[in-house]
Assembly symmetry: C2
Homo-oligomer: 434 residues x 2
């Protein structure tokens, strides 16, 4: 059991108490800085230990293997535009959609999303005016969110509108109001499960409200990036997400959603396989582009994945091994936050049940300073602001913590340094108003 | 030595002689049709025997291999946007450019070309107006050419202008005149070596004239798809191509060319690696797009290729094994054409020294009928017209023959059927005017 200690919130301390505390903390900070550490909590990438879990994949196909896929096609040669059958089945099960509603792509779902936006720009959506011909195109961006989503829409000159996240997903009152009233709003970025960076899973009601949206724009699409669909941390407690495509179909809006996913954080980042899930009509349009863009994606790698995982149950079992490595890392960061910052009133965070991140909210106006101070002591964090469109966090308070890559020992140390930075920057902030 | 037989050109035969000949040929045709054959000379894809040459690639990386690349990065994880060092070196040597002027992509150079055009559409070229904002964008298309090039420009609504091929490459008088006078002309598709479908290699003078073009459009680019750079058929006779990027640089036009290539017909089609070669300034723009579009391409596959081939000399040796398989196939088709059609005045062709195709020109207005007739007898050819923009061959005479995929036995048979169809259709054509 955790020891119960009496904690006083910082803003209840006197100026003198704060100054004394600051002095102590600065001594600690100077000491740590002197160690010339180099720690990285910035990147949502798997650790080497996690990558080792998939090394068996290297032995699945050998020089004497038969590389024909289920439909009899030689995977080494041209042919099969939208994915071999066994890869479709595997990823369709992973994405919880019928295998006729999936198209397999290359190694990156981000690339699929980019290409999707690019196609909308040059060719529109199911006959609509190409977005590049419009004066203004807007996207809704639940915040905090995934910086690389925002980079895509920014790259294409699409105006981004912040929508606050709530514990049940994006604020749907705002989403509904904007989507139904403004025909320039063409899409919304969503990471519906174990969201980046908060680890929030959209509630059943939220998903259902998405499916019943009445967009002013006929070419409005929900960009549903289910990047962490089976990336649980715990066996005994996990989040559940109802399936958006079927909800949309039931509500008569089958074309309204594009689902994206990949095996990047299941097998190897950069050497996995990605997919899009969508309605028949959407996929027809996607395939029309695809057959101009490529002769086909890497079928050998599709076959390697299908044979390595076998089926979705094999993949889910594989994810339990990832979880066993990730869980203590998340627990370490979370317990450090709890023990060191609990009750101090200078930061808040959520304890996610999956995904790759812990989202920390500092006092207003402190995030940039905390990240800069951590860097001073050799701890690299994701840039403050990165979780918002244009890199601008209006409150300057959100910081994304990525616990996956460092070792447990490194994390403990990095966590302590981070805490120290939060405390020091917060004290300065409170002192300003004393 | 070939037996010398006296041959009379078909148009010198009398009506009666032609009718008699036709009757004989039709008997043969009916007989062959009765065999219900299924042969395919349509696709420029390697045979299974060729694919077997690269099966050793499956054993290069094993579960106990170290997957770190030369710069020390773990290829299994995120990182390294534009290609690992050893893959860059290998493909730079293959493309005859400095390794600092290359970016490695995914599995398909066609995809790189598509993305390049797409980027020009949405973002322009080095600050020029995005092509999608212009009333008219035009491309020059040397004909006959590669159908998939033309499909890309057609997909983006770019107007295509035919430029006739000559034995030394595109007619440069026409290219120079058009490019220097019309600012709507933004590019030209080139397969400069062992061209698709004719197997023509651009002469030194042609390449040099390309490098000295004075385009009316500042954002004019040469799309230089050197798909068959090391795809020779013969050890003792091969074509040489001077290097365009250096020529352009010497002439003060370093930004004017994008070079494309891939290992699709070296290792595995669809599971190879592709690359773009260009100037520093062009690559800067390309990387700017790339870092929005993807976190990185498949580095494990890059590593697999680099370790399998070792270096360019290893790759060139590997291509000699491909040549040993391809050579008798080309020789079979060429000797069939020579023996059966030589001197008849009903068709012409070139004997390429490399690449994947033999281009056949029938009498005007006969290509569609020949292809249809061959299909009737169970031989699939590339659609007549496919080698021209919009699928429209103004003379209806060009037919692309792809000898790589069928076995030698199949090729002999398919060749005989093709000859028969050429003769029958040509006789009808000549009879019309008798």
């Amino acid at each position: 059991m955790m020891e119960v200690t009496k904690v006083t919130a910082y803003n209840e301390l006197s100026k003198e108490e704060l100054l004394e505390l600051k002095e102590q903390l600065e001594t600690q900070f100077t000491e740590i800085k002197g160690k010339n550490l180099s720690l990285d909590m910035s990147r949502g990438k798997p650790s080497a230990e996690q990558l080792n879990l998939s090394m068996g994949m290297m032995d699945v196909l050998k020089s004497d293997s038969n590389l024909a896929c289920e439909e009899g096609v030689d995977c080494r040669n041209y042919g099969v535009l939208d994915g071999i059958r066994e890869a479709k089945q595997l990823l369709a099960d992973m994405m919880e959609i019928p295998k006729d509603n999936i198209v397999i792509f290359g190694n990156s779902s981000l690339n699929v999303m980019f290409d999707t936006i690019s196609r909308c720009m040059t060719h529109g959506v199911l006959g609509s005016t190409p977005w590049c011909k419009l004066d203004k195109v807007k996207f809704l961006c639940p915040v905090p969110g995934y910086d690389r989503h925002f980079s895509i829409t920014e790259y294409f000159g699409i105006e981004m509108i912040n929508v606050p996240m709530t514990p049940t997903g994006p604020d749907m009152d705002i989403v509904e109001r904007l989507v139904s009233s403004d025909p320039a709003i063409k899409g919304i970025w969503c990471v519906p499960k174990y969201s980046n960076p908060q680890g929030i899973t959209y509630s059943d009601e939220t998903v259902h409200r998405f499916a019943t949206l009445k967009p002013a724009a006929e070419d409005f699409r929900i960009f549903w990036d289910n990047a962490y669909g089976i990336h649980h941390l715990y066996d005994d407690k996990q989040d559940y997400l109802i399936e958006i495509f079927m909800e949309c179909k039931k509500e008569g809006n089958p074309n309204m959603v594009y689902k994206f996913s990949s095996t990047s954080k299941i097998s190897f980042p950069g050497s996995g396989i990605a997919a899009i899930g969508a309605s028949d009509e959407n996929l027809k349009e996607i395939r029309r582009q695809m057959q101009i863009q490529t002769i086909g994606h890497d079928k050998v790698n599709q076959l390697r994945h299908a044979r390595f995982f076998g089926d979705i149950s094999g993949m889910v079992n594989h994810m339990k091994k990832h979880a066993a490595i990730m869980r203590p890392k998340f627990d370490t960061v979370l317990s450090t936050l709890e023990q060191e910052l609990g009750g101090l009133g200078i930061g808040s965070w959520l304890a996610p049940r999956g995904g790759y991140f812990i989202s920390f909210d500092s006092m207003e106006g402190c995030a940039k300073k905390i990240v800069a101070k951590a860097k001073e002591a050799g701890v690299v964090m994701t840039d403050a602001g990165a979780t918002f469109p244009y890199g601008k966090d209006p409150m300057d308070s959100n910081i994304r913590i990525a616990p996956s890559y460092p070792t447990l020992e490194e994390l403990k140390l990095a966590g302590q340094i981070f805490i120290l930075c939060v405390k020091l920057v917060s004290i300065d902030k409170i002192l300003e108003s004393k």
